[in-house]
Symmetry: C2
Subunit: 562 residues, 2 copies
């Protein structure tokens, strides 16, 4: 599913913690696509605002149009609009694109940015009226903090409106809502609230809801053993969401002492635009946005000399697996093979394989290999039994059973090979297992007992893929003019035909898809990926050792007989 496209209309922050830079980083953290129109260049950093260079209204309009005319936008936020002209330009351009019917417009989040943390005016006085009369009425939600709410509510009033407590916040949110936005989130970062205040508000108001985040509940004594805010949860921070008709929700979280608060408002409103953009209801969007912003402050690390930025990237992590693309349909398997490139080559281009391809392999070495492979296949079949035992779905259990039946068939080929080379079934059964066989076979069982299905699948892969690769490689080489591979008078031609044949190759294809789907549906962490690679590496090495064994042990026997 393609991500949503979002638009921020705001000022800039070269130091990255606020403005469109913070908005775009937030959109990216939510996996959404961000676009932006700049109302003013702001020279600022964590210490304060040094200067402002506004965009002309004409150029602001061109930027907004460049986005809207080309890209379908799912959510919009406005931040610093700077002055009355630019604020009007934003409204005019949006209305001109979407028509006067705001229902056609995507959700609009208006963060009525007016004064920076450092005290710099970011909204010219003439713009306050435009915000109230033109921007709010087309807004899904407005997100003032205490001082912005006070400024807005004191506009054209004789008396300064002051907010000092939770009741005042609820009252202010209600009054702000009368300016025409669909909802109002009054941010409580600068107002201290206790649990008693919240209990009081709950008694006072009928339709009040409380959402708690980052606080321990009853029956979680066990997590209170060490440190944290526990036992002394006050002071609390409460954001008040008012959606009209007395529908009030309080978002409660512990207060955090932190200087990493630069751009908190930008981050919150950008998150709201992202969440409303994917059609979350307002109260859920606010829950997500307040939680994300809270964690951004909690996980921040120091940047700059003043009020540093939040950590916007706490919610994402690196993807360790390459993604599937048109030119790389099996990215994980390719990754595995390339992670052990040298060993893989030593395995699939082993002298044993080359001599077999030429038809020059010593008969004794081949027979020894086939006898040991017969024993190995018993472990291999048992490991698939273990895989069935570890599966959670019938189709997985069925696949394992089918593979076991395949192996039983392969065993038939082995015994007929042996017969052809004068080895009876009794002699075959009586042949002692070589150390290389026991090591590889027991390792499969050990991995199967130790890990989950994914680890076991990795262990089973080197054998499946490698023999398929050897079959295809010999076949491909044989098709070249004057090839070194000899298929016409080769005593081992049936072996080559079997592993390059459609039946085995079909099994390989199923195995490939299983592994890719598994990696895709349950992407490994770095730790698990390393474990998988190690299992793959070990099994590739066991495979090489297996063919080494066919040479060395028969050479030893030859010497013994000599």
């Amino acid at each position: 599913m393609a991500p949503q496209n979002l638009l921020t209309i705001a000022g800039t922050d070269p130091s990255g913690g606020a403005g469109i830079q913070a908005d775009l980083r937030t959109f990216a953290a939510f996996g959404q696509y961000g676009t932006s129109a700049i109302t003013a260049l702001v020279a600022q950093n964590t210490l304060g605002v040094q200067d402002i260079m506004p965009s002309t209204p004409e150029f602001l309009e061109k930027q907004i149009r460049a986005v809207l005319d080309d890209i379908t936008i799912h959510g919009i936020k406005t931040g610093m609009l700077y002055d009355a002209t630019n604020a009007r330009t934003v409204v005019k351009t949006l209305k001109s694109h979407y028509g006067n019917d705001t229902k056609k417009m995507p959700p609009l989040v208006c963060d009525p940015v007016s004064v920076s943390t450092s005290g710099h005016t970011l909204l010219q006085p003439d713009a306050v009226g435009v915000l109230i009369n033109e921007v709010f009425p087309i807004s899904t939600i407005i997100t003032p903090n205490k001082s912005e709410a006070e400024l807005l509510l004191s506009h054209q009033q004789d008396q300064k409106f002051e907010i000092t407590d939770l009741e005042g916040m609820i009252e202010a949110a209600s009054r702000l809502l009368s300016y025409g936005s669909k909802s109002c989130l009054l941010k409580g970062g600068h107002i201290t609230v206790t649990q008693e205040d919240i209990d009081g508000a709950c008694k006072q108001h009928q339709h009040i809801g409380v959402v708690r985040e980052g606080l321990l509940e009853e029956n979680m004594e066990i997590l209170q053993l060490e440190g944290g805010n526990v036992g002394q949860p006050d002071p609390l921070v409460v954001d008040v969401l008012h959606q009209g008709n007395d529908r009030v929700t309080l978002y409660v979280r512990p207060h955090i002492e932190s200087s990493s608060t630069h751009g908190t408002g930008c981050t919150l409103s950008a998150t709201l635009a992202a969440e409303l953009g994917r059609e979350l209801p307002v109260d859920e969007a606010v829950r997500s946005a307040t939680a994300y912003t809270h964690r951004g402050i909690e996980t921040a690390y120091p940047i700059g000399h003043g009020h540093g930025p939040l950590n916007h990237l706490h919610s994402i992590t690196k993807t360790y697996l390459p993604v599937a693309t048109r030119t790389n349909p099996y990215p994980f398997t390719r990754f595995l093979i390339q992670s052990t490139r040298t060993l893989w080559k030593q395995y699939v281009e082993h002298d044993f394989v080359k001599q077999l391809g030429r038809g020059e392999l010593r008969r004794e070495a081949f027979v020894h290999f086939i006898k040991q492979d017969y024993h190995y296949l018993k472990y291999y079949a048992r490991a698939h039994g273990l895989l069935a035992a570890k599966s959670t779905r019938f189709n997985q259990i069925k696949t394992s059973a089918n593979i076991i039946l395949h192996i039983i068939q392969e065993i038939g080929t082995h015994t007929s090979f042996c017969k052809q080379f004068g080895v009876s079934l009794e002699e075959l059964e009586a042949t002692p297992e070589s150390a290389a066989t026991v090591a590889y076979g027991s390792y499969l069982i050990d991995v199967g007992l130790q890990g989950d299905t994914s680890k076991l699948t990795m262990a089973l892969l080197a054998c499946l893929l490698g023999y398929g690769e050897v079959g295809l490689w010999l076949k491909k080489e044989a098709s070249k003019p004057e090839s070194w591979v000899n298929l016409s008078s080769n005593p081992y031609v049936k072996w080559i035909e079997d592993y390059s044949g459609p039946e085995y190759q079909e099994a390989v294809k199923i195995g490939l898809k299983t592994v890719e789907e598994q990696a895709l549906s349950d992407p490994p962490s770095e730790t698990r990926l390393n474990e998988w690679c190690e299992v793959w590496r070990k099994c590739t090495w066991f495979e090489k050792c297996f063919w080494d064994m066919a040479f060395t042990e028969t050479a030893y026997n030859s010497r013994q007989q000599a």
Copy 2:
């Protein structure tokens, strides 16, 4: 470890695919912190450039200083510098901050942006000389494409320099290097190259290296079975890195037919700044940057009506676990408990617990519970044996062994409880297991056989935590004035003391830390997290059922006797 801080000095793209917007998204995708100074506002989208509004040189300087004066920068890239004055301002401001000794400056990547894909001039003609004479000499690497290289090499020459093939690229890179940058990456997106050309270049030049990305090698026939570029790997795209002294590296990848190429150059140079910023050698940084950019094109989805942006976010994924913070030291366990809040409460505040706390629990129910718990603990101990068998480290094996010994001790308490209530060891052993006991116990063994250590650890957690929680809760309630919990004349006081006592609580603490460390060191995918939650939910439910059983089965027995 704190991420690196990076600075981009470039133009803007409201539609988000290029300019500082693409750079900042790239930095975010690499987990790095991005800052930015804007040389010019550009009204552009995927269809082309509509207009440009340059920053004044003074304001550009203020933006750069806002960043450099406040934040330690580890890597810088320049994109569109627009005109001679702004280009000179960038050089002047950097030199004024770092001094004339470029060794003190972080790595500088210069992307000599001159003309947009749509043909719009992004660099005034007067700026070409400034780039060559002032920016290149302080650059770690320059990253021209074919037309930029031709423009730069034709500057002040009588004749237009033209690049038509791989040899021409290598020659051009060598000449560009003479302008003074430490290295030159000539991008080959617009030049078609074959494997023969590459083989030819390798014969021609002594110190040439070839890095292949996204191409299948020999011995990977197995991955060639279906579709893709395989079998017909041409045309290829080659980027040429020249590091002086004839040190040339070719970065080879398959050509991709795609219209999602808007901002490719920005993305590549931003990635280079990010990778050089964390002190990767130039050739490794180029390898990473070309691979990232290539995958960005391959995984792009359509945005806009023209040349759409790359997918910058293909390399990151959502983090599914909440992060540990000061106020939330056990985020994963908290998440687990809150994911089954109701069931958890039904378990730890079960009527059995409340009656036990009051000292009013029917003696028969308690004895039944203790007898079944005795049986259950055998499964629980065996499951820890299984955990030991699945462990890879001695300290894990030791922890399991210690827990088993703890359980054996708990068994001693159980037998002495039974003795106290008139039940002999023989009677205890002879008591048949209830269905609830078999269900829970066998489930532990099943999970243990089916999954890896993480899944088994989840299964063992509900019992460990819940009993610790019950102990602490009763103890805490007892400490309240006029409490409902009765510790003075309660026949079950020893049970409460045991589970709230330091020894058991210490074991709980170790368990908590183990689980948190496990989740942190091997963060689960969404699929695995859901599996873990389901195991936790099931075991919480089994615990509740266990206490239900103590009531229902003894009530049944009472009725039978009546």
